[in-house]
């Protein structure tokens, strides 16, 4: 067994990540990442957002969710935003560990 420690949150890259995500929501770029997934939830009309991105590596989960929601808010309507139940940022490795399987267009 090992003991873990959480470190203070570093927000220095948030603006860059946010800007990239905003651009990607508006018009997906040519690069392979980030991968944006709007997955219909079982709850009618609601969706779960998954953003798969290696750049999340050193960023805590809560910060990732906040960045995703902020980018979604800036590029979608309030109704769309209200339909998001969960926003998760995962590195591709984390997503695989969670058992997610995806494909890209």
């Amino acid at each position: 067994m090992s003991r873990g420690h959480l470190l203070p949150v570093d927000t220095s890259n948030d603006a860059d990540l946010l800007m990239t995500l905003e651009q990607e929501w508006k018009k997906p770029g040519e690069s392979t990442e980030p991968i944006l997934i709007e997955q219909p939830s079982g709850a009618e009309g609601y969706i779960r957002l998954y953003v798969l991105w290696a750049k999340w590596q050193s960023i805590p989960q809560q910060q990732r969710s906040r960045i995703i929601m902020e980018s979604y808010k800036k590029t979608h309507s309030l109704d769309d935003l209200l339909n998001v139940t969960i926003a998760m940022g995962l590195t591709p490795d984390e997503a695989r560990e969670m058992g997610l399987v995806w494909t890209t267009e």
């Binding site: 067994m1 090992s2 003991r3 873990g4 420690h5 959480l6 470190l7 203070p8 949150v9 939830s41 079982g42 709850a43 009618e44 009309g45 609601y46 779960r48 805590p60 989960q61 809560q62 969710s65 929601m69 309030l78 935003l81 209200l82 998001v84 139940t85 969960i86 926003a87 969670m98």
Partner: protein, 167 residues
């Protein structure tokens, strides 16, 4: 009577749930405020959030204080909902699942929450989801950052506003 027999003799009703989360909340808050016991506080308070969401869902569907939670969960009506909503993880402990079940039910009955309330609920559930996991019980953890304060705020809000989620 063993302690286990004592627990088993207590009815697991919705009313008892509400008393239980008040108790767990006070215990969890106390643990949360000291660094050495913070992990225990976060763990316990996550279950408070789960109980609040679970109770809100069943209250909204018309369940009363005397109804046994286990029977509600084992009922066909709930099993159909669970099949439809699905659960990303943690089965009946998943706070995401209870959020989606509640929102689904409210929408189905044309009684969606006011927008500001729903947005706040979704934000706080996300915060709790990011800060808590059933799997925490297997981990030795220490929290030296300040993220736990957001988590604490989210739990407090959920507990204090629980009636607005199902009324």
């Amino acid at each position: 009577m063993t302690l286990r027999e004592y627990y088993a003799s207590q009815p697991e009703t919705l009313g008892m749930f509400e008393l239980a989360w008040e108790q767990r909340y006070l215990e969890g808050e106390r643990l949360l405020l000291t660094e050495d016991t913070r992990a225990g506080g976060i763990y316990l308070l996550g279950y408070v959030a789960e109980m609040v969401m679970k109770a809100a869902y069943f209250r909204f569907t018309g369940a009363e204080s005397e109804d046994r939670v286990l029977w509600l969960i084992e009922g066909k009506e709930f099993k159909d909902v669970a099949r439809q909503v699905g659960s990303p993880s943690e089965h009946n402990h998943s706070i995401e699942f209870w959020l989606e079940a509640l929102l689904n039910e409210r929408k189905r009955k044309n009684r969606t929450l006011p927008r500001h309330l729903q947005m706040t609920l979704q934000t706080y559930v996300q915060t709790i989801h990011n800060g808590w996991s059933v799997e925490m019980r297997y981990l030795a953890l220490q929290f030296s950052g300040t993220e736990w304060r957001e988590y604490q705020t989210a739990i407090q809000w959920l507990k204090n506003r629980h009636q607005t989620l199902w009324r």
